[in-house]
Amino acid sequence: MSMLCQKCKKHAATVHLTEILNSEKREKHLCEQCAAQEGLTDKAQQPINQLVAKFVLAQTEAKELSQITCPDCGMSFLQFRNGGLLGCPNDYEVFKQTLVGLLEKAHEGRTQHVGKIPGGRENKHKRQHELMKLRRDLQEAVNLEDYERAAALRDKVKGLEENG
C-alpha cells in the first residue's frame, strides 16, 4: 500500500521531498497535483539569484567572500549575490574560485567552454582588459571635470581601438 498525500489525503504520494530549514529536517509526501500547486515539481528552475544565494550560504568562507570587490568595476560579491548579475568580464577572474562551483551547478558539472571560438584571438584578451580600465578612468576624469586627462585617455582608447 502506497503512502497517501499529506495534503489532500486522497491520492497516492509520488513526490517526496526532504527540506532542511534552520537545521530542522522536514519531509513532505505529496501527490502530483498538490505538489504542482505548491510549485514543488519544477525546483530546477530557480532563478539564478536564489541559486547564488543558496550556494554562497553553503560556503563556509561566505563572510570573507563578501569582502572581495572587483578593482575594475567595483562589483562586490555581496552585490552579485543579491542581483545575480556580474559587473564586468574581469569579475570572472576576481570571483573565479567561487564562480566555478556555481557554474558546475548551473551547467551540469561542466566548467570548460568547448563551443565556438571567435577568430584571431591572440592578445585580444589583454587589450580588452586595458580598454575597460581606460574607459573607467575616462569616466572618472569626466566626472571630476579633468578634461585634459579625459582628452588624453580618450586618445588612448581610440588608439587601442584602431590597432585592434
Binding site: T41, D42, I48, P89, Y92, A106, H107, P118, K124, Q139
Partner: protein
C-alpha cells in the same frame, strides 16, 4: 520602415502556417548572448558607455553585409504601446520593453531576426522561424555572429567562453527555445510529464513570453538551461533529436487517448470554443488564448474544416492588447478592450465563413 506600428499590417514569417509535427511545434528560436570586450557589463555601465555600445553595434550592423536588411528601433524614445507591440510579436523581451536608458532592437522586415542592444547583455541576437527549423535557425544566427564578429570584439575567456552578465549564460551564450502547443496533455492532466522530462534533461519550461510568464492557452516554451561545456551543435541536436520528439510523442499519445476514450468531451470543448468566439460580446485576453488554443487543437485533430490555421494565427496575434489598440486606432481601458476584442473576433470568424 519608419514606424513599428506598420508591423501590424503583416505577420512575422514564423507565424505563417508551417504546420510541423501536427501543429505541435509552433516555432523554433535561437538566441546568442554577446558582450563587447573592453566595456563593463550593463549593470556597471554609465549612460555614456551605453550610448557608445549602442553606436558601435549599430555601426557594425550597418557597415556589414547585413546593413541594408535591418532597421534599428530606439526603445528609449518610443511609447509603451509600441514597445508592448514588439513584445507581443516576440521581437523583444518584456524586460527590454520595460527597462530604461539607451537601448533598442535591430529588425529585419520579415521578423525572423531581432538583435536586441543593451538588454541584459550588450547584444542579444535572435533568429525565429515557424515550426521545427532549428538547424536553419542555427546556421543563420551563426552566420550573423560571424559577420558581426568581423567588426566587433566580443568578450571571451579561454575557459569560460563568451562572457555574459549572468553566469548562467556563459560559454556558448546560446538559448534554444521551442514553443509547443500541448492542449491534450493539459486536458488529460499529464502536463506534469513534460515538467518531469524537462527537469531530467536540464531544460526550463516557460510561458508564452519567456522568463517569468505563465503558460497561457496551453503554449509552453521549452529551452536549454546549461550553456557551458557543450558545443552549440550538440545543444541544437539534443533538441532536434531528443527533446522535441519526446514531448511531441507525449502530446500525440494524449490526443489519441482523448480521441478514443473521450471523443464527446473533446469535441464539445472544440465546438464550445467556436461558439464562444463567434458569439461572445466581451472577452478577455486569457479566455481568447484558451479558446483559440482549443480551436487550434480541433483543427489539428481534424475535427473542423471551416476555420484555417492562418485565421487562427492572425487572431492569436491581433487580439493581444497592444495589437488590438493599434489596429483599431483606439486607446482603451480593459473593459472596452474586451468588447472590442469580441467584436474583432466575431467579424473575422464570420467573414471567414462567408468567403
Amino acid at each position: 520602415m519608419d514606424n513599428v506600428t506598420e508591423l501590424v499590417s503583416g505577420r512575422g514569417d514564423w507565424l505563417k502556417s508551417v504546420n510541423s509535427e501536427g501543429g505541435i511545434v509552433i516555432s523554433s528560436r535561437i538566441r546568442l548572448a554577446r558582450n563587447l570586450g573592453g566595456f563593463h557589463f550593463l549593470s556597471k555601465c554609465s549612460q555614456q558607455d551605453r550610448d557608445e555600445i549602442q553606436a558601435l553595434i549599430v555601426g557594425a550592423i550597418n557597415s556589414s553585409a547585413l546593413g541594408g536588411h535591418f532597421f534599428y528601433v530606439h526603445l528609449d524614445n518610443m511609447g509603451p504601446l509600441e514597445r508592448q507591440l514588439l513584445v507581443e510579436r516576440h521581437l523583444i523581451s518584456r524586460q527590454h520593453a520595460e527597462a530604461e536608458g539607451p537601448r533598442g532592437v535591430a529588425l529585419v522586415g520579415d521578423e525572423t531576426v531581432a538583435l536586441m542592444v543593451n538588454e541584459e547583455d550588450h547584444l542579444r541576437m535572435q533568429v525565429l522561424y515557424g515550426g521545427l527549423q532549428l538547424d536553419k535557425a542555427w546556421q543563420r544566427i551563426n552566420q550573423l555572429d560571424d559577420q558581426l564578429e568581423e567588426r566587433l570584439e566580443f568578450a571571451f575567456h579561454e575557459q569560460f567562453g563568451y562572457l555574459t552578465a549572468c553566469p548562467t549564460n556563459i560559454g556558448t551564450g546560446i538559448r534554444v527555445s521551442v514553443m509547443m502547443h500541448l492542449p491534450a496533455l493539459k486536458i488529460t492532466g499529464e502536463i506534469e510529464r513534460v515538467f518531469r522530462a524537462a527537469k531530467d534533461m536540464h531544460l526550463a519550461v516557460r510561458g508564452l513570453y519567456g522568463e517569468g510568464t505563465e503558460a497561457t492557452g496551453d503554449f509552453y516554451q521549452i529551452s536549454n538551461q546549461s550553456t557551458l561545456g557543450k558545443t552549440e551543435e550538440e545543444i541544437v541536436e539534443e533538441f532536434r533529436d531528443l527533446v522535441v520528439p519526446r514531448i511531441t510523442e507525449y502530446e500525440v499519445q494524449a490526443r489519441e487517448l482523448l480521441t478514443k476514450q473521450k471523443s464527446t468531451m473533446i469535441e464539445d470543448k472544440v465546438w464550445r470554443a467556436i461558439g464562444m468566439l463567434k458569439y461572445a460580446r466581451t472577452i478577455s485576453t486569457e479566455e481568447t488564448l484558451l479558446l483559440l488554443s482549443h480551436l487550434r487543437m480541433g483543427l489539428n485533430m481534424g475535427m473542423l474544416n471551416d476555420v484555417d490555421l492562418d485565421t487562427i494565427n492572425e487572431l492569436f496575434l491581433n487580439t493581444q492588447q497592444a495589437h488590438l489598440q493599434i489596429i483599431t486606432g483606439q486607446r482603451l481601458d480593459g473593459e472596452q478592450r474586451s468588447k472590442l476584442r469580441a467584436d474583432y473576433i466575431r467579424r473575422r470568424l464570420s467573414n471567414h465563413q462567408n468567403n
